[in-house]
Symmetry: C2
Subunit: 324 residues, 2 copies
């Protein structure tokens, strides 16, 4: 399978038509028509085999996740997805692998109407870099630097389930399970994350700041706090739980998954107290739940406390590359 | 050096201010203001260590080239560079390597006023994916599918010098040199290609089609021909030569470098005969030369002939990944 056959296969399997694509895959560059009067949100994320997913991961899941982690960035900006580019380095051109990868990518692309407009295929260690583009009205995008002291901290879904899935993947010996473990459910949370695109759009005009949780709730919340010049406090008893999470690990394990585990791709947002009900209603309309887990405050850093206000000790940070 | 220190170092070293960057590095996505009434040209290209450059290549050259190959795509569209994103996978966070890489990237970015607005840093085998954005007036971009039968084929600069540089790098035993070899000059042609951005802009309204020569003149010309539904003929005696190229190899070697060698990043364009003089004058204004090397014709494929019109035998294709 030569490079050009490979590109043709990607184009065929990932086709999503859009009227604003003037010229798609097949020239030196794509030609696109930005939406008049809108700001353009652009983000790029890389997945590396053996770092972001185990070497044996199903190609469908790799394709899905490589787009999902990028759509999650658009969701966190409150931007409407439009176009993607795919840079794919492959050790060998395996037609079956490629078909699975494209089908996973395309399944999510179709859900969000995002067109694959360009890319590059190269020989090399398995590495996938996706770049996504979306639109937001001027000044409407959700940034990290807009939180105010007193804003509530809301989080979507059940953070920690992806980390529990990773623990399942690495071997159940690590699990302090209280009952039968919902392995398939937790693995799906890890490998087919749902980017909260509709929620991000619904939160424009409601949230004062937002981020997606890719590196762990504590660390990502810390980015909003730092960029907004604030501190933040999470009350552990307020964290949302699922039965799957509760069966999978004991209280200590769950707390580590929820605060320091990565790969959730849920949204963590700042909301003024008067708009919490509106945010939660918007989330319900999107079929998800926003849980109030704490507040922003004057100061810096992220404090973790229990219901009585006592400090809770935890691992310092979420996932960070390049830390020795 | 942690991931966040690394990102901060990249941001500091690669800063190029632009008024149309609403929000740059540091949030979930960049927020950009597209130029009103313009089309947006977007392209992405990956360089993999050991595939696109030898492992020991100077980091400055890798940084330069990773942006250059992308700017070359914008040049081939006649698009004006605006924004870039950088996805960088590194085996280890080496501060000296990173400084050199950023300085090379930034040196070229500053020349073209292109702002680095986002990216991703991950641990993994050394792989660099850059995504670039540029502007073109509606309908003005240079595409591959616009050539007409009878259009002349013009090429900028001296194709083949980069391939000669690669031969130097791989070992002079491969050279059939006729004299002292201009090794440093040829290596610079390989490792610090000059994207023909100004030339691409100047050719809007003059050229009917364009491509950049990254995979070899014959193969890339074949893409214009195929997309335009035509054949093409190159007359070998018309190919431009430099003294460096003539000293580096004999006639057969030079012909292979010029037609099948990659990495030139010169432009190959289609121009109606009546506009050849205008194209060459525009090139002279940009400090480069466009040489008329043949013509498009009815049919398909690329024929190589000598001055007498006799077919010349050559290796079939340029560089193609994934060919067994």
């Amino acid at each position: 399978m030569g490079e050009f056959a490979l590109i043709e296969e990607i184009r065929r399997r990932c086709a999503v038509p859009r009227a604003d694509v003037i010229l798609g895959i097949g020239d030196d560059a794509a030609l696109l028509q930005p939406r008049a009067g809108s700001e353009l949100a652009v983000s790029t994320d890389t997945l590396v085999a053996g770092v972001h997913f185990p070497a044996g991961t199903a190609p469908f899941d790799i394709g899905w996740k490589s787009l999902a982690v990028n759509l999650s960035d658009l969701a966190a900006m409150g931007a409407e997805p439009a176009w993607a580019l795919l840079a794919l380095s492959l050790p060998a051109a395996d037609a079956d692998w490629l078909a699975g990868f494209c089908d996973g990518f395309a399944a999510l692309a179709r859900q969000h109407g995002i067109a694959l407009v360009g890319g590059d295929t190269t020989r090399g260690p398995l590495t996938i870099t996706v770049t996504v583009h979306g639109f937001a009205p001027p000044g409407a995008a959700l940034r990290r630097d807009g939180a105010r002291a007193g804003d509530r901290i809301l989080v979507s879904g059940i953070p920690g389930e992806a980390a529990a899935g990773l623990t399942c993947l690495l071997g159940s010996a690590l699990l302090h399970a209280a009952g039968p473990v919902d392995r398939d459910y937790l693995l799906e949370r890890l490998q087919r994350p749902i980017p909260r695109v509709a929620l991000g759009l619904a939160l424009r005009g409601i949230a004062s700041a937002a981020i997606d949780i890719s590196d762990g709730l504590r660390q990502d919340l810390g980015h909003i706090a730092a960029r907004s010049g604030l501190g933040a406090v999470i009350v552990t008893d307020r964290l949302p739980h699922s039965e799957a999470l509760q069966r999978a690990g004991d209280a200590d394990q769950r707390l580590r998954w929820q605060l320091a585990g990565g790969d959730d791709y849920e949204l963590c947002i700042a909301v003024p107290p008067a708009r919490v009900a509106a945010a939660q209603a918007a989330a319900a309309d999107c079929g998800t739940v926003l849980t109030d887990i704490g507040a922003f405050e004057e100061g810096d850093g992220v404090r973790i406390v229990d219901a009585a206000g006592a400090d809770v000790a935890l691992p310092r940070s979420g996932w960070e590359h390049f830390v020795a």
